[in-house]
Symmetry: C2
Subunit: 788 residues, 2 copies
Amino acid sequence: MTAAYEVDPWCVRETELDLDRLAQSESVFSLSNGHIGVRGNFDEGEPHGLPGSYLNSVFEQRPLPYAEAGYGYPESGETVINVTDGKIIRLLVDDEPLDLRFGRLAGHERVLDLREGTLTRRLEWQSPAGPSVRVTSTRVVSLTQRAMMAICYEVESVDQDVRIVVQSELVANEPLPDMGQDPRTAAVLESPLVGEEDLVSGDRVVLIHNTRVSGLRMAAAMAHEIEAPTKIHVQSDSHPDVGRVTVATRLKPGQKLRLIKYVAYGWSSRRSRSALHDQVIAALAAAEQTGFDGLLAEQREYLDEFWRGADIEVDGDPEIQQAVRFALFHILQAGARAERRMIPAKGLTGPGYDGHTFWDTETFVLPVLTYSLPAAARDALAWRHTTIPTAVERAHQLGLEGAAFPWRTIDGRECSGYWPAGTAAFHVNADLADAVVRYLDATGDEDFAAEAGIELLAVTARLWRGLGHHDVEGVFRIHGVTGPDEYSAIADNNVYTNLMAQKNLRNAADLTMRHPDVAQRLGVTAEEAADWRDAADRMFLPYDERLGVHPQSGGFTDHAPWPFDAMTAASYPLLLSYPYFDLYRKQVVKQADLTLAMHLCGESFTPEQKERNFTYYEALTVRDSSLSAQTQAVIAAEVGHLELAHDYLAETALLDLHDLNGNTRDGLHLASLAGAWNALVCGFGGFRPNAGVLHFSPRLPETIPRLVFHLRYRGGILRVTITHAEATYALVEGEPLSLTHHETAFTLSPTTMTATYPLPPHHPSPHRPTQPKGRSPLHRSRQLLARE
Amino acid sequence: MTAAYEVDPWCVRETELDLDRLAQSESVFSLSNGHIGVRGNFDEGEPHGLPGSYLNSVFEQRPLPYAEAGYGYPESGETVINVTDGKIIRLLVDDEPLDLRFGRLAGHERVLDLREGTLTRRLEWQSPAGPSVRVTSTRVVSLTQRAMMAICYEVESVDQDVRIVVQSELVANEPLPDMGQDPRTAAVLESPLVGEEDLVSGDRVVLIHNTRVSGLRMAAAMAHEIEAPTKIHVQSDSHPDVGRVTVATRLKPGQKLRLIKYVAYGWSSRRSRSALHDQVIAALAAAEQTGFDGLLAEQREYLDEFWRGADIEVDGDPEIQQAVRFALFHILQAGARAERRMIPAKGLTGPGYDGHTFWDTETFVLPVLTYSLPAAARDALAWRHTTIPTAVERAHQLGLEGAAFPWRTIDGRECSGYWPAGTAAFHVNADLADAVVRYLDATGDEDFAAEAGIELLAVTARLWRGLGHHDVEGVFRIHGVTGPDEYSAIADNNVYTNLMAQKNLRNAADLTMRHPDVAQRLGVTAEEAADWRDAADRMFLPYDERLGVHPQSGGFTDHAPWPFDAMTAASYPLLLSYPYFDLYRKQVVKQADLTLAMHLCGESFTPEQKERNFTYYEALTVRDSSLSAQTQAVIAAEVGHLELAHDYLAETALLDLHDLNGNTRDGLHLASLAGAWNALVCGFGGFRPNAGVLHFSPRLPETIPRLVFHLRYRGGILRVTITHAEATYALVEGEPLSLTHHETAFTLSPTTMTATYPLPPHHPSPHRPTQPKGRSPLHRSRQLLARE
C-alpha cells in the first residue's frame, strides 16, 4: 500500500484523484464534531464511494435473526443511518453537470487542515463541452456551534463566458451502494427516513423526517449567502426528500460566484416537529450572525487551545508526525461535542460496525481525551451513566446483580447477536469503570464522581461480585467469560478480566467509602464494600509454572498450538477461513489480551514476567484486530524492544492513512488512531498515571531522536520532551504535580516549572520476539535507519 | 398428569375423547413403518391437533439466519414437511358432516394394537339433525409393503334410513395450525408442495408434487374397494392439491357401507414423474392383490416374529408393562423399513426437531434395534455410511481430517444453527462408531464391516486424531468440545467424549488391522493405526482428587454451584429462563453426561468411582432433557439404588403416554421410549455386551418380582428371566453363546439351552442420592409398594 497523501506535519493533502479509492479518502476527509459528522464526499454528490452524513445516535432498529434462538438474545439491533445530506452543491457549466468522471481534470487538491479544522478542495475542470471552471470549496463542521456545518463554495470561469447554475440541496434517503448486507437489513436501511415536513422560505429550506421503527425525528435546514458579480436568479423548492436552492448566473473569465451554505441539524426522540423546526432555524440564525469567516475563526481558536494541551512532536519519522496529529484531530472530532451521547468505534466517519460503540472507546480512545480534552471524556462517561437503567435491566435479565453494559450499542441496549463474543465479554464493564477512575484521577472532578462516577463503579462492582464465586478454598474465580482476544471465548479466569475486575472492585470499595453520602444513596454499605475488597483480594490468577508465563485464561497454555506454519497470507484474517470452535480451542491470539493486562494492570506483573509473557504471546498474536498493535507497542517499549515498538506504532498510526486493513472505506478506526497516542505516550513516554502521581519511564528507539507530548492534568498542562539523552518535564500551566522519572520521584510547581533527568542506559535485548509467520509488523524502524 | 389410556399389556386404548389433548393422542396413535408415517388424526380430517403425514427424508430447505455470521455456519437447514394426506375419509350423514365437535358422541374408542399393528377406531355419533351412525375404521401402515397404508372404513346406520356420502381424499398443502415458528420458516412450510400432476381414473387418483427448493418429487395414489348393500353412486375428481373419490348411497338401520382405501406413496430426488407415477400405481396393484385382510395377516406375522425376539415382560407394574411394549412397537415402526434413510428423533410421528436425526438415534435407539431387529440397525448405519462424502466435506470445511458427521440433519448436511451445542458436540462421531461396533458384535456381519462399518470407524478415528493433540508431556487432549450435557459447552477434556473417542480410535485400529484389504482401500496404514492406538492410550481423563470424582469436563468441579435452592417449578426447563452463558459456567447438568460415560465406558471406572460420581452428578442433574432419565436408571441400578432406578424407568417409559414434558404433541420421543428397554435390560438386567460375551448383572427392585426380556444375538434368540431369587438364561434358538452372570462365565448352546444362577444378595445403600430441589423423579416405587 502506498500512501495517497502528501506528508505534511499539519495537513493531509491529496493531489491526485483515484476514483477507485474514493470511499477510503471520504473517511479520511470526514469532518465531525461528535454531534454531527459528514464524510468527505464531493460537493456535487457524484461520483462517490459511500455517501454519508451522520447524527450521533440517530439509528434505525432492525430485527436480529437467529437460526436457533436462546434466552436473553437481543431481539433487535440498531444501525446508524445515513441522514439527510446537507453537503450537496451541484454545479452546471453551460448545462453540463460537473462530474469528475467526465471532462478533463486540470487540477485537483483536497486538504484536511488539522489546525484550521477545515476541508478545502480546489479543482480546475474542463467540461466535455469546452469551457473550464475553477472550483474552491471550504467545508467546516463547527466545533463551537455543534448543530452547524457550513460550506463556502466558489466557482470561477477560467476561459469563457459561461452560464453557471449552482444547486444547493438537502437530500434524504440517498441511494447507497450495495454493502453486501443481509437483504433484510439492507431493506431497513435503504430508505430509512419518512418525510414529515418540507418547507421553503426564500433561500432557506427545512426538511423534517422520522425513522420508521426507532421513533426518532430529525430536522435539517439550510440557508445561503450568495455573492455574484452579475445578476443572479435564485429559485427554491422542496419535496419530502429533497430541498433545493438553485442559483443561476453568467460568469466571464476571472469572475467568481460565491455561495455560502449553512446547514443545521437537530434531532430528538421526544421533541415535537415544531420544536425541532424552530431549533434548526435558530441554529441557522446564530451561524449566519457569526458568518462563515466567524465560524472559521472560532474553529481555529478552539483548535489552537486543543493543540496547546495535546500536541505531539515526533522527530525522525515525518509520516508518524503527520499520522499522530491526524489521529488526535479525528479523536477530537469524535469526542468534542458528543455531549452525553456515545462515541462510536468509527466516530461519525462511516457506517462500519453499524455505528456502534464498544469497549475500545473506554479503553483506547478515552485515555487520549482524558489527557487532552477531559470534558469530552467526562461526557462520554456521563452517557454511560445515563444508560445505567438499561444496563441494570440487562443484568437482571441475565440473572446478575448490578449493571451489565452492552458489548455493542448505540442507545445503551445490547445489540450483539453472538453472545460468546458479546454478552460473555463482561470485561467491558471493568473497562468503563477503569475509564471513570482514570478520568477522576486526571481531573479531580468531585462533582462527576458524586453524580455519576461512583455509581458507575458501584453497579459494575456488583456485577463482578455476582459474576464470580469463591471456591471451597476461598479463591475468587470468574468463569465462563470472554476476554479481549476474540479468538478465545467462554474461558475461566481470563487474566485481563480478573485483574480489571479486581481494580473495579477495589476502586468501587474505596470511592464509595470515601463518599458516604453517595454510598448511602446507592445503598452501598460498609459490609458490601468489604465484600468487594475480599473478592478483589482473593482474585485467582492462573500461572503456568512449567512455562513461567501467565496463561491468558485458565488452561490456555495446554491448548494445541495454532498451525501457523501452514498459514499463508490468504489465511488472514483467520476468522474468514476457520471456524470459531477451532480458533477458540487453540493457542492463537487475535489481539492483545494478556499483553493488555500487562499495560493496564502492570503492577500485577514482575518485570521478568512481563518480558517472558510478552515474548510468549508475541509468537501467538496475529493482529487480526486493529486494536492490537498499540498495546504490543506499549509493552514492547516497556520490556525494551524499542524498534519493535516503533514498528507497531507505525502500524496503528498509519492504519487508516495507508488503509492497511482495506476497510477504511467503512469509516476510520478511532481506537487504532488513539493507538498512535498510546504507543508514543505510554510506550516511549512510559506514561503510567496512578493515584495522583504521573509516572514516566521514557525510552526512545534509535529512529526517534526527539519526542514531545503534552498532557492536561488536573486543570494544568504538562509538556514532556524526550531525547535519547534526557527527559524534560515542564509545567506549562497549572497546580503543582507529583511525578516520577524511572522511579525517581519529583514535583513540578509554578515555582519549579521544569525538571530534566537523564535517561537510564538502554540495554537492547539481543532477541527480537518473533511473531507468527507472515504476521510481523513492517520493519519500519529498519527502513528508517536504512534511509539515513 | 393422568394417563388418558387404559392399561392393557398389548394395547393402548382410548375410550374418552379429550379434544384439548388431540395432538398428544395423534402422536401416540401414529402408524409408521419407518418409510412412511401418519399421525393418528381422525379419518374425517377435523377436528385435529396437528395433521401429519410424513415420508422419510422428504423435507424442504430453508435459510438459516444469523444476527452475526461466522465461517462454517450452515447457510440452510432442512425441515420435514407434511406431505399429501392420504388418511382423509369424510362422511356426510343426510348432508351433515361428521364432526365430533358437533352432534352427540355416544361411543368413542381408539385402540392401538401392538400385536396386530393397527389403529382401530369405533364411534357412534348422533348428528345434530337426529340420525345416528356407527363408524369403524381400521388403519394399517404396512410393515411388509413399505409404500402402503390401508384403511378399512365402515359406516352403519343405527336408527334411521339415511343418505350417506363418503369422500375419500388425497389432500396436499393442508393448512397447519400456527406452531409459533419464525414467520420466515412458517412461510416456507405453509404450502411446501408444488402440484405437478393430478389424474383420476375410476376410483383411482394420483397426485404428484415437488418441493420448491430441496428438489424432491413425491407421488401419492389411492384406490378403493367398496361394498354396499344397495346401489351406490361413485364419482372421482382431481385437482392439483386434491384428489377425491365420492361414494353416495342410502343405508337402512343395520346396513353398512364398507370402503377399503389403499394409499401408496413414492418419492425421489432423481426419478422422473412418470417413473414415480408408475411406482405408486404398482404399489397399489400389489396391495389390492394382497387385499386388506391379507395386509393385516402379513402385519400380524411380521409382528409375531418381532415380538418373539424382542418382547419384555415386567411383573409388578402393569403401566410399565404396557409402556415398554408401546415403546418397542414405536421403535420398530421407526426403524423397520427406514432402509438406508435416517431415523429421526421423533420417528415419523410429528414435526418436532424439524424431523432431524441426532446422536440419540445411535446412542439410545440403535441398541434396542441391534438386539431386536438387527437389520434395521444395519440399515440406519448404512445410511450414515452413504453420508460419508458430506461428512468428509464438512470436516474439510472445518479444517479437520476424516469425517465430521452433523449434529442434526435429514439428508446428511449439518443443519445446526448454534455451533456451541451443534458442531462442537463432536461426540456424535464416536457415538455412531460405537453403534457400528455394537452392531458388528451383535451380528458378526462381516459383509457390513467390509462395506461400511470399518470405513465409518476409520473416518471418525481420523477426526479424533486431528481434533485432539498431545501436550508437551505426551498426554492426548481434546479441547473445546461439547459433551452430551447441553448445559455445558466448549470445554476441555469432556470425560464422555474422551472415553468414547478412545474406544473409537482403538476399535478403528483393531478392525482396520484385522481387515487388511479394507484398510488398503481406505488408505489406513499400520502407522496410522498405531497413531490411533497411541492417542487412545494417552487419552487424558480429568479427575478431581479433592472430591474423589471425575469432573464432567476439565475444571467443571471448580465451577460455581447452580443456585438450585432459589429455583421453583417455573424455573424449569432452565434454558427458557437463564442464558446459556450462565448455565455453561456453573455446575448444573441438563442430562446425563459423566453418568452416560459410566454406562457406555463402564470399564474405565472403579465401582467406588461409579458410586461417588453418580451421587455427585445426581445432585446436579435437572433432567431438562428427555434423554437423561434412562441413563440415570441404568447407573442407579448398577450402583445399587434399585428403587431410584425404577423411578427413572417410569419417567422415561411414560414420557409420551403421560405427556410428562407437555410436548408429545410434536411427536414421540423415540430415544426416551428406547429408554424403557435400556433401563430394564441394561439397568435391571445389567446387560453389558462386550466383544462376543454377553455380560449380565441382574438385580431387581422390590417392586418388580419378575422381569423377562429377549435379545437377538448372532442370529439366535436369548431369553433372560429374572426374579428376586435367580436368573435363568435360555437359548431360544441359535448358535452357542458366551455369557457371564455377575462375573460368573458360562455358555449356552443347543445342548445346554438354559442356565440358572442365584442373584447375589442386594445390600441397598441407606442413602438414596438426592436430586436438585423439585427435580427428583416421581417416587413410583414407593407408590407401588404403598399400593400393595
